[in-house]
């Protein structure tokens, strides 16, 4: 009880602070501040999954996500960001950091933030992407058969405590280089874990301290090429490595590559991620398959998506996405997954602006699982989303 209550108080205090900062006249403070927020109410309709053995391991119904953020510019060199969000894991301090800029090429970020990884995380707020849900590689657990596929490859957002050095550098007339290197607490799990325990990164009493006193590190480098006044191409690569158990015996490594092409009214995004995840194999009876001597103590989880977003009118966007996950390696004894499990999803959707800052989103998803459901013997499932998303 103490954790949720503390989180609620944290949220109330943050909102009160944001309200006070926003309501003060400019002259009362010697710095510029900006208040922003977003919210999405989504209805997920999963008709074919209802009779599946995996049901109710899918969110069939309403989900609500909301966030409020205050950004303060103390000067050209120093700024601060505070963001509180509410979602599947309750209230969460998503950002609370300071930026200190020595130059465009050298910025120090200190506090709680999502370390720079991949292209999608910049748009992780539901009001900032046109479909209701995230690509599977970044999904935290809103997929069908979620108990089996939970966490995707890199569950987004992934706020963590630490320090990041980042910067941007112009390379000639048409290119720009972005980089980031960071050390953060890293993902967590208890001793004897078979996977990351993302809840430990989200609960206030657990994210306050590192569980193994050893930071995780990572980096990203990206190049943006200017193709015209309103067209560009970004190519990026990211990596992260750390240990996640209290004894520092088990490690994870995540790598990713991404490309974003923006041509006039068309945006094409391609991204691929892979996670190598070590498991505690001291008790072979916990596994479904016989442990091999070599390469038996880890699994690989790969995820990728291709997304095309087309603005049809100023109000209407059409979106098509194909994404999937591939998991290779041993699984827990009670898992319905095989040692080489796949899921593919095909999505068609639209987003329609009904007012400035307010959109309705509709999408239909066709799911193709590698494993048949134990009860219905079905591999294919259908999902539909209807959402109202707003931002200011």
């Amino acid at each position: 009880m103490r954790g949720p209550r503390r989180a609620t108080w944290l949220f109330v205090l943050a909102v009160a602070l944001a309200a006070v900062l926003s309501s003060l006249p400019r002259g009362a403070l010697a710095f510029d501040r900006n208040f922003a927020g977003s919210a999405q109410l989504d209805y997920h309709f999963a008709p074919t999954a209802k009779r599946a053995r995996s049901f109710p391991d899918a969110f069939d119904g309403f989900t609500m996500e909301l966030a409020g953020k205050v950004a303060v510019d103390f000067s050209d060199k120093v700024s601060a960001n505070l963001k509180v969000c509410y979602g599947c894991h309750g209230f969460e301090a998503d950002m609370m950091y300071f930026d200190f800029r020595v130059a465009d090429e050298l910025n120090f970020r200190v506090g709680r933030f999502s370390p720079t990884f991949g292209a999608f995380n910049l748009r992780h707020d539901p009001a900032n992407h046109r479909l209701s849900d995230k690509p599977l590689a970044y999904d935290m657990g809103r997929m069908l058969r979620m108990r089996q596929w939970n966490l995707g490859v890199m569950p987004s957002p992934f706020p963590d405590n630490g320090v990041e050095i980042n910067g941007t550098r112009r390379l000639g007339a048409i290119a720009q280089l972005d980089y980031a290197v960071y050390a953060v607490s890293g993902f967590k799990a208890d001793a004897g874990a078979l996977d990351l325990d993302f809840k430990l990164s989200r609960s206030p009493q657990s994210y306050y301290v590192d569980n193994n006193a050893r930071p995780a590190g990572g980096a990203r480098v990206a190049v943006t090429l200017k193709l015209g006044d309103v067209s560009d191409l970004t190519l990026g690569a990211s990596g992260m490595y750390g240990t996640f158990d209290p004894d520092n015996r088990l490690s994870y490594a995540i790598v990713g590559a991404d490309a974003t092409l923006r041509l006039e009214t068309t945006t094409v995004r391609v991204e691929g991620l892979s996670r190598r995840q070590e498991m505690d194999t001291s008790d072979p009876s916990r596994f479904k398959y016989v442990l091999s001597d070599k390469r038996g103590d880890f699994f690989m989880k790969h995820g990728a998506y291709v997304e095309v977003e087309q603005a049809v009118t100023r109000e209407l966007d059409l979106i098509a996405r194909a994404d999937g996950l591939l998991r290779v390696g041993n699984v827990a004894a009670d898992s319905e997954l095989s040692s080489r499990a796949t899921v593919l999803r095909y999505t068609l959707g639209l987003a329609y602006a009904i007012e400035r800052g307010l959109r309705v989103k509709f999408s239909t998803e066709a799911w193709d699982f590698g494993e048949r459901d134990a009860l219905t013997n079905r591999k294919f499932e259908l999902g539909m989303h209807a959402a109202l998303a707003g931002s200011f």
Binding site: D76, N107, T168, A222, T234, Y352, R356, G357, V360, A386
Partner: protein, 120 residues
């Protein structure tokens, strides 16, 4: 069959609930209609609209209510330096030109409202 029709009914009701706001308000794009902007700022607006919609909706900057040019300068500089923003230094110049126009329009509206409110 009954369960199926009930599910279909609940889907239809849900879709109607989400579509209702659109039917009630009609469409209004998140951005501005460039054709209604003065000729000199149209190109700058296009750069603003394209660059500033990469990570968030245009409603955020357009609805921020910032009327101070200096605050916009710091705001846009902070955005440009975000890893992955894709905003070049010359984009920043164009974006700021548009936002200064937008801020001036807001100031005009505010002073107009105050004048109207202050009239006996």
């Amino acid at each position: 069959m009954i369960a199926g029709s009930r599910a279909a009914r609940s889907l239809m009701v849900t879709l109607a609930l989400f579509a209702a706001p659109a039917a009630c308000t009609g469409a209004r794009a998140e951005g501005l209609d460039a054709s209604k902007l003065p000729e000199p700022v149209r190109a700058d607006y296009e750069v603003f609209a394209r660059k500033c919609s990469k990570c968030h909706s245009l409603a955020r900057p357009l609805g921020a209510g910032i009327t101070d040019d200096e605050q916009w300068a710091m705001y846009v500089a902070r955005m440009r330096r975000q890893p992955g923003s894709g905003i070049f230094a010359d984009d920043e110049v164009a974006i700021l030109r548009f936002l200064r126009f937008h801020a001036a329009e807001l100031r005009k509206k505010k002073s107009g409202t105050q004048d109207a409110g202050g009239s006996p």
